[in-house]
């Protein structure tokens, strides 16, 4: 059984939840993963400082698209300050696997655009190799470009 491409991930890839547009939205953001060209955008509707609803849209590899789908329900109801605290551990717990350096940005792109929409940041979520790079990670990531 493939740990990464197991049925749970593939099901979310093929039938993504909370994908599409929100006509009425309070925040949005879109970005790409330069490594493999994944594209991801998000529309968010707020109630006070809580996420009332959200929709992702994009195209890309199974990991990027499935992760957005998997975390989408979990994000609903979270406050802006709660979203600000989320990092790679949140994504790893939600998808049930620790991503390798080459796939980490695929998995973090959806969280990045949500944080971009709500916090106005263009930084990758904390815990990505960019922030505290391990030499081997950097070498592998550079190799992908």
């Amino acid at each position: 059984m493939d740990q990464l491409y197991r049925e749970f991930i593939l099901d979310h890839y093929k039938n993504p939840r909370n994908f599409g547009d929100l006509e009425q939205r309070d925040a949005e953001f879109a970005d790409t993963n330069p490594l493999c060209g994944d594209e991801m955008g998000v529309h968010i509707k707020l109630e006070g400082d809580r996420i009332a609803d959200l929709r992702f849209h994009g195209q890309g590899c199974a990991i990027s698209q499935a992760t957005a789908s998997i975390i989408s329900d979990e994000l609903k109801g979270k406050t802006v300050s709660e979203v600000a605290q989320l990092d790679r551990r949140f994504v790893a717990e939600e998808i049930g696997i620790e991503l390798s350096p080459t796939r980490l940005k695929c998995g973090l792109l959806s969280l990045k655009v949500v944080q971009g929409a709500l916090l106005g940041t263009d930084e990758w979520p904390s815990g990505t190799p960019d922030e505290d790079p391990d030499a081997a990670d950097v070498a592998r990531l550079r190799n992908e470009i």
Partner: protein, 418 residues
Amino acid sequence: MEVTTAQAALPRSVEEIRADFPILEREFGGKRVVYLDNAATAQKPASVIEAIDSYYRRSNANVHRSMHELAAEAEHLYEGGRAKVAGLVGAPAREVVFVRNATEAINLVRYTWAREHVGAGDVVLISEMEHHSNIVPWQLLCEEKGARLEYLRVDGQGRLDLAELDERLAAGRVRLVAVTHVSNVLGTINPVAEISERAHAAGALVLLDGAQAVPQMPVDVNETGADFYAFTGHKMLGPTGIGVLWGRRELLEEMPPFLGGGSMIKAVEDQHSTWATVPAKFEAGTPAIAEGVGVGAAADYLQALGMDAVREHEREVTAYALERIAALDGVTVHGPGDAAERGSLVSFSVEGIHPHDLAELCNREAVAIRAGHHCAQPLMRRLGVPATARASFAVYNTTEEVDRLVFALESAKRVFGA
């Protein structure tokens, strides 16, 4: 430029050739690596590795300036490397400028010749199949000069249209045509001699990006008709950190220098300097000496095999790969359908599986392919895909390795139910 002869055969078996490349012994998860990412960089034969090792162990010294024996030996080895690389592409050694890579070679032309000869309203004509290395320098130049960057279209078969080239040239403002000899995504072998002839008739100069061509087929820079020809060492079985700009001598002599510093001067006055002769004029500072020696050893290795035979072997492997990959359900192959018209690579898309996932699943089978935009984002937009998967072949690859790739692709399709 297709000069393959049907009889060209490798002087040794592929098994013997494979034994020259230590890295091909590597195994991952108990499986022998199948390296099909040669368009990104090629593996190195022991002779190249040993030439670099021997240079550092026995002959290391700086070049061009000292009188002692080691310096003479280092200079002899380094300039010997230049002569061997020049010989591989039919050029005189003094027209071969050593740079870091093909990107730097193109940037050298952008900062020297192009800055003096491309002005406001002029056109730099490239194509939709260029690598970023042959796009971005010209974007920067055009921004600086108020010139216009135009793209030749790529047709559905991955080819350029010479009639469109004629139309663009007829408008009268094209100063430079800069195109790739062989596409790193589509594999297309462009009709470079025809392109040069037409460009010259319209008063434009021609720069060819030969990064993919030189490693895999006979290239004679004079037969291409080009004015500048850029290529790199690491894709032709040599080390990283060394590339080549070939230029016609009279152009190189007229051009201003690129970087200023040691080695590139004749005399340095307080307020100005005069320049060394070509190619030293373009090689400021201590060069990549060991890499020059190494790339010379790579040229020797390729010459001993014979570029006709290298091309023929890779054409056979590519034809086999084209046939097997195209036969898979849900697979689209990009670029020319006939291996005779393409270089040694196959780019493809599999319905329902992103190329990045495909590459990861191939990696489980120890099959190394590339997935991504291949530094050719304008071409990806033209093809209407975010990325492609690419298998690219070198002289040490075999049809059995293509079978391993196809097995990996079939496994990936099963995982995705595609």
